[in-house]
Amino acid sequence: MKNIVAAGLFAAICGLTVSSASAQDTTLTIRAVEGLKFDVPRFVVRPGTRINLTLDNYDDMAHNLVVTLPNSRLRVVNTSLALGDQAVKLNYVPRTPDVVAHTPVVEPGKAEKISFVLDQEGVYSYVCTYPGHGFVMYGAIYVTRRPATVPALDKDPHVAANRKDDAGHAHHLPDHPYELKYPAVYRTFMPDSGPASIAVGLTPKAAYCWDAGSCRLRYAWTGGFIDQTDHWDGNGKKPTHVLGDVYFRDQGGFPIRLGTADRLPEVKFKGYRLINRYPEFRYLVNGIEVREMIKPLKTGRGLVRQFTLGPVSGPVYFVCKSGDGVKYRPSVGKIQDGFVRLPVGTRSFTLTMIAE
């Protein structure tokens, strides 16, 4: 007996896993993954193949895997929903001739093996009949002597819709019911920042990430805005991607110091107001209100940050460390030892950041 391990990688790339020329044993693992999906969208075997299949549950909810005869998946799913109080005992699998083989319910993190032979040619299904899952979570087993007749993945009626998306054919749809206008503001999971971050697209090609947790600008980039496709998919496990080249990345931590230059103040985020679609952030620094509005440089890569401060009795410092990708040009005061010291009584100032 010879085992052929189906290559999951191959399946992921083109959605097609084909066993070798003649009918023999095939061993493969199908993972139940997040978003009501089997990671293998379909596979192909020759008639008479014994299939040793492991269902490995990588998801955070329970699943089973039920192999059904051609054209019977929906019937099996609907029958499973009508099992009533027998459902749990039967692992949500109806006892009908439509079912070729099935695993029990597999808890998250667990795996189960089944073994079965498919003699007749046809398109069989494997489906999770756990209540509510069967309408979206399934794949196809092509039992055929002519693998070349199998249709392209995105045109395959036997493959679940949420698996066709993965082939890269679902990206033509608009993001919103309107054309995105700039400046654009999204609260989302941004990489290399705190989890309460805000992505702001100043123009389609210039953007920054502002961290509402630590009340500060984290990084800025040009060349594009963000891609939220992955983050929007399913339950939002993957972060949003930055599109473009980051030219500034904050190194100095929260930049404003009150009284002394070396003591980090307490900060508290208070929200933002949109002014001509530009967000003006509001936050408290040791109880003093600060407003910050960020605009793009008129020419070249960089930002103009306008600050408005509440009444402060002592001196105010602003950290301008070198090595974070930009040159600083304050509207008042001078840069010394990595700080701008603002003249006492300053209530508003701008800080221009020019990419180096």
Binding site: E107, P131, G132, G234, F269
Partner: protein, 510 residues
């Protein structure tokens, strides 16, 4: 393809003939109904046309004072629907999963998004929000995808309640978190590594956020009953043998141990490592257990029918949504021995609802607005609106425990012959175990004999005597083909009563 279209239109013709026929019979009320009445004779479901290009994962939904509907969607849009004109307008953008909305006025809402509770307001009268003000963000955020936030709901004193989902071991946390990171909170399937994950929080009118009650896993979502009692739904999983509805009271713990880490004075230990017996003794049990898959897989928002009868015969009681079944669930609660407990029953099955009923809100006309989502799990997308058509269906209106059994009250007088047949009341009882593993099987499942069924003189109440009543069990009742005196069918035949406590004067074996 051709054939398909043909047969589809044939089905349609048949259906409209059927509807016409049953309408005729509804007019001739005194005559027996033929063909039999269905739920669509009493309730109609309208599917709302969603804006083109919208991914209509409806996260949050509320009715504004002027009757417009404000809805929040997964991609951050907050949109307002005007029912009269059936038009949509964008109100706000860029919200991170707006899973809860409360209308403050016709130009201002509170939105519960992942990182904070936000006041979103149109201050210049152009119909579009320009102010996004942080109301509270005094809770931790680890960057784990499962840290959803739910609510807000407001009590009569002006306190606002929100609830915070635990994190899932389906993913880790960000290298940077907001709030204090405690690595003791990392182990476990659903975990709480930053403050107040797994808690219901109370925001007092002075703007301070207080931890209120702990022990929640995935508390989607919150609601009040007619007496101002706060309830939270929770989902089957680790430590939850089946999905539940809790009566949330200050200082209490409801069973999912992860959140205990953030309880003041709690020992420095990963709570799930404590003996199950000890954890069991710390918890307050649910008011309602929803038998898994039989009633609900994932219950959602509890909402009070405060329509005063505009939505049919269930005014004053609560409904709750459900993600995986194309129906809602009616709740019939009572106080027994000082604790709220009661029954749940599928409602509007077959009425044309989709799955994924995540948010529910009553409009001023008494119609029920439903926001539907899937969010990577089972469900559906979009919005539907349910209207009562004015005739009273035959339904179980209430189920109450007695010392010897249950009293069932129906919306219509019952046909005496069928109502007194004992075989029309099939009881079983079972319980779900409190343990760490995901879900639970049904333990000690036994049929329970009905020894007597007594019909009241007005025909609306059946008093059932049971062979045995035992605390700590779910009593599942499947009713037979009961009919009203006017030959209406009983719409919902399944009901499950969570019997935590017996009445004080109950004998051990009545």
């Amino acid at each position: 393809m051709r054939n398909k279209i043909k047969s589809a239109s044939r089905v349609k013709t048949f259906l409209s003939a059927f509807v016409a026929l049953s309408l005729l019979n509804l007019n001739g009320w005194s005559k027996p109904l033929f063909p039999a009445d269905t739920i669509t004779d009493y309730y109609e479901v309208e599917t709302i046309q969603m804006p083109k290009g919208l991914t209509a994962e409806t996260d949050g939904l509320a009715v504004m004072p002027d009757g417009r509907i404000v809805a929040g969607f997964h991609r951050g849009e907050i949109m307002i629907y005007t029912p009269k004109t059936k038009t949509w307008k964008l109100f706000a953008e860029g919200i991170h999963d707006p899973l809860g909305i409360m209308a403050v006025s016709n130009s201002e809402i509170l939105v519960m998004q992942r990182p904070e509770l936000t006041r979103v307001k149109d201050t210049n009268g152009d119909g579009v929000a320009d102010l996004y003000e942080t109301v509270t963000d005094e809770f931790g955020l680890s960057g784990n995808y499962h840290e959803f936030a739910f609510g807000p709901v407001k009590d009569k004193q002006g306190n606002i309640f929100i609830s915070l989902n635990t994190a899932s071991n389906g993913a880790g946390i960000f290298p940077e978190v907001r709030g204090k990171l405690d690595t003791l909170g990392r182990p476990g399937r659903m975990y709480s590594a930053v403050p107040y994950r797994g808690w219901v929080m109370k925001l007092t009118p002075d703007g301070k956020l207080h931890p209120y009650a702990s022990g929640f896993r995935s508390p989607n979502s919150l609601g009040f009953d007619a007496n101002g009692n706060l309830f939270a739904a929770d989902n089957q999983g680790d430590w939850l043998g089946t999905s539940k509805l809790y009566h949330v009271q200050e200082g209490k713990h409801y069973g999912h141990p992860a959140s205990l880490l953030w309880k003041e004075g709690f020992p420095r230990i990963t709570p799930r490592k404590l003996p199950v017996k000890m954890l069991d003794s710390l918890r307050t049990v649910e008011s309602v257990a929803f038998p898994h898959s039989r009633i609900a897989n994932s219950p959602t928002q509890p909402v009070l029918d405060n329509t005063g009868g505009k939505f049919g015969p269930f005014a004053g009681k609560m409904l709750i949504g459900e993600m995986d079944h194309p129906y809602l669930i009616r709740l019939m609660l009572e106080t027994v021995d000082g604790q709220i407990q009661g029954a749940c029953a599928p409602f509007l099955a077959g009425a044309g609802l989709r799955r994924g009923n995540n948010r529910l809100a009553f409009g001023p006309d008494g119609s029920l607005w439903l926001g539907q989502t899937d969010h990577g799990w089972a469900g559906a997308r979009g919005m539907q609106r349910v209207r009562w058509k004015g005739k009273t269906p035959l339904e179980l209106a209430d189920m109450k425990l007695t010392p010897t059994g249950f009293v069932l009250t129906f919306t219509q007088p019952l046909d005496a012959a069928t109502a007194q047949q004992l075989t029309n009341y099939q009881f079983q009882r079972y319980y779900y175990e409190y343990h760490e593993a995901y879900g639970s099987k049904q333990f000690d499942k036994q049929p329970v004999a009905v020894t007597k069924a007594e019909l009241s003189p007005d025909g609306k109440t059946v008093t059932l005597k049971l062979g045995e009543l035992k605390a700590g069990y779910i009593y599942e009742l499947e009713m037979g083909k009961l009919r009203s005196t006017t030959q209406q069918n009983l719409m919902g035949r399944l009901v499950c009563y969570t019997l935590n406590r017996l009445q004080r004067n109950t004998q051990a074996n009545p």
